[in-house]
């Protein structure tokens, strides 16, 4: 019983960290066909922005003057926004090549950059370069570390153990993010149009989709979510330029294990991998948790290469069959 409760409580932070690490990456990967190896650094931008805003490091923006919890929430929202805007900048300059092409068309008379959309491998190399640039630029500009942010909310006691309430609440935030995304994808045509755009860009244009705006919005949304993740983890982490690398691997594994559907896939992979991690970490130690998570990922990719969300689709088809 106590063990069961322990496992349940431990599951929440694991679930939260996998889901929050993965959503931004999943959207950019699933919808734009861009593998963002700088995803961890986008998370880092979120964390740095939160820390700077919270500690009064942003000129003309007195977030540090806000009282209590609103100071933290203000800093986090600000960070998500900053990262989204930063993502927009990256999209325009690197991913779409729009800015360099605008320049080259006026000087050389022709575009020089082919957009990285749906070029998985090229986008990997380019964003790898971006990640090198970001980590070291932040190091040079902000130093090797920034001062942190306290963890709010205190502790949650259960049995003879306790855990930071904040870490448990993060699971709620992760669930909220998934629900919000679900609504965005289901209630609006945005998700459908975005998927159509990546499947056949010129046809989507011919049907009235402003594909350029779709890409910009998608990348900004994915970046904003990465920024939010960084913001949410600022209280828990030591704020250093390299902090993003912790998230990258889990995010990748979760995205691939989840499959093509961003919301369902991330939910399922966060759930399953979270359970595996919790179970093995608790029973056999952290190393076992880590290895078990990776090995489960390998087995899943091998046996369900289309991802966990394809299982749901198959179930849906099964139902159609019965109808």
């Amino acid at each position: 019983m106590a063990i069961g409760l322990d496992l349940l409580v431990q599951f929440f932070p694991n679930f939260a960290s996998i889901v929050l690490a993965a959503t931004g990456l999943a959207i950019i990967f699933g919808i734009m066909g861009v593998i963002n190896l700088a995803h961890g650094e986008f998370i880092m931008v979120g964390a740095f922005s939160t820390s700077l805003a919270y500690n009064g490091g942003i000129p003309f923006l007195p977030i540090d003057a806000l009282p209590g919890l609103s100071r933290l929430i203000g800093a986090m929202l600000f960070a998500a926004l900053v990262t989204a805007l930063f993502g927009l900048l990256v999209e325009r300059t690197i991913i779409s090549g729009a800015v360099p092409n605008w320049i080259s068309e006026r000087t050389l008379g022709r575009p020089v950059v082919t957009p990285l959309y749906d070029r998985l491998l090229d986008s990997m190399v380019a964003t790898w370069g971006l990640s090198l640039i970001m980590v070291q630029t932040f190091r040079n500009v902000f130093g090797n570390s920034l001062s942190g942010v306290p963890i709010p909310f205190g502790e949650l006691s259960y049995g003879n153990s306790s855990i930071g309430l904040y870490q448990v609440l993060l699971a709620g935030v992760a669930a909220f993010v998934l629900i919000a995304l679900y609504l965005v994808f289901v209630r609006t045509d945005y998700g459908m149009r975005a998927r159509a755009t990546i499947q056949n860009e010129s046809m989507a244009q011919s049907l009235g989709v402003n594909t350029e705006r779709t890409y910009m919005a998608t990348f900004a949304l994915g970046s904003g979510l990465a920024g939010l993740t960084g913001a949410l983890y600022t209280p828990l982490l030591s704020i250093e330029p390299g902090l993003g690398s912790v998230f990258l691997v889990d995010a990748f594994v979760a995205v691939v294990v989840g499959g093509s559907s961003v919301v369902v896939g991330t939910l399922l992979s966060g759930g399953l991998l979270g359970i595996v991690d919790t179970l093995f970490s608790n029973v056999y130690g952290t190393f076992a948790g880590r290895i078990a998570l990776l090995i489960v990922a390998i087995v899943l990719i091998r046996f369900i290469p289309q991802g966990l969300s394809s299982l749901v689709e198959r179930l849906r088809e099964r139902r159609l069959e019965v109808d």
Binding site: M124, G129, I301
Partner: protein, 374 residues
């Protein structure tokens, strides 16, 4: 695959060699290329004469990494299987060589180490490849799966510091790695040739040369054409009667062996190996070398590997703080401006400029009703 040899009997041995090395799948089919190639090879052969010893040993390191790049060029560039896991075979071979060579002393031990290491790397690749290709894993899923395999290995090796991880005389050594790995050597009992310093350089140079020429021959052979066909369209190739899974498995295994050879040369350069060879950064480097150089070429990855590695050293000596930034910018610029890679990009640029010069005449004189369209 039971493919017959080319019809070259009439051209004599030299002609046959030339025919074997030429074809649509590799860059550099002109006479001018081979002159240039000869000059570059000579520059390398005399490298120790005009360079400092540290430059020579560093170059042997780059040359052994070139083999790793080539292994990925074959697997990814020519067969379309993007493995993020070449460093796994590299690392496994490195550790295996260390274990064997530390335990079996003397030159024979090192040679046995080499053979066993390359064999284990190939076997590992074969098992992994079988698991993936015969299980229908493809595309980006291969990429991620191989990456996860690397991370599992690294996570495992990081915690092997304890005494229980000592194999014979060789301790795996955890994060700190396995020191004391002997140089490769030839001889029975007493070594008469030890592969260190300049000797290692020549060994690595020879390995790269042989590999390059051998791969040229392979890629322009019937089998090489099937590899390219698999890259271009797996279904079509299957429907021409080729066993696509087996081709992928064979190439992947071969790539594993080549990466393994690279790993062995590399650890004999360091006399040491540690799990950092299996980090995410290390795993991505071969992808970057090959992507930057031009994945559908052999020369591209060779040039890019040496260039990028040497540049890294240059920047860390001369630039300091902003070295990573410059390095990153360079990658970005190359991928964005030359998506086919450095060498093909330069080639296209040269021909584009040539075209522009030629074109500017014809453009002006094109008759609006002229036969422009075929």
């Amino acid at each position: 695959m039971g493919v017959e040899s080319d019809d070259t009997a009439t051209r004599g041995p030299l002609g046959r060699l030339a025919a074997a090395l030429h074809g649509p799948n590799t860059m550099g089919n002109s006479r001018r290329f081979w002159y240039l190639f000869g000059v570059v090879v000579l520059l390398f052969v005399f490298f120790p004469l005009y360079m400092l010893p540290s430059a020579v040993t560093n170059m042997s390191q780059y040359l052994s990494l070139v083999l790793l790049a080539l292994s990925l060029a074959v697997v990814w560039g020519y067969t379309g299987v993007l493995s993020f896991g070449q460093v796994a075979f590299f690392g496994v071979a490195g550790y295996t060589y260390g274990i064997v060579a530390i335990n079996v002393t003397g030159p024979l031990g090192t040679i046995a180490g080499l053979v066993v290491a390359v064999g284990i790397a190939a076997l590992f690749a074969a098992i992994l490849g079988y698991f993936m290709f015969y299980g229908g894993v493809s595309d980006v899923y291969v990429t991620i799966l191989t990456l996860v395999v690397v991370l599992v290995l690294k996570t495992f090796l990081d915690q092997t510091a304890g005494d229980e991880w000592t194999i014979g005389e060789a301790a795996l050594g955890g994060f700190n790695g396995m020191p004391g790995i002997p140089d490769l050597a030839l001889g029975i009992g007493e070594p008469f040739l030890v592969f260190n310093d300049t000797v290692l350089f020549y060994a690595a140079l020879l390995a790269v040369l042989v590999t390059y020429l051998g791969l040229r021959a392979l890629l322009n052979s019937d089998y090489g054409r099937v590899m390219v066909a698999v890259r271009e369209d797996e279904d079509r190739t299957e429907m021409l009667g080729y066993d696509v899974k087996r081709v992928k498995l064979t190439v992947f295994t071969f790539g594993g062996a080549l990466a393994g050879l690279s790993g062995v040369l590399y650890v004999t350069y360091f006399n040491y190996i540690s799990p950092s060879e299996l980090s995410l950064t290390a795993a991505s480097l071969p992808v970057i070398w090959v992507a930057v150089g031009g994945r559908k070429t052999l020369l591209g990855p060779i040039v890019a590997t040496i260039f990028i590695e040497r540049l890294g050293l240059f920047l860390s000596v001369n630039v300091g703080d902003w070295a990573f930034v410059i390095n990153g910018l360079l990658l970005l610029v190359i991928v964005l401006l030359l998506p086919e890679g450095l060498l093909p990009g330069l080639r296209d640029l040269v021909s584009w400029i040539g075209d522009r010069r030629g074109d500017s005449d014809t453009d002006d004189t094109t008759d609006p009703t002229g036969e422009v369209i075929e």
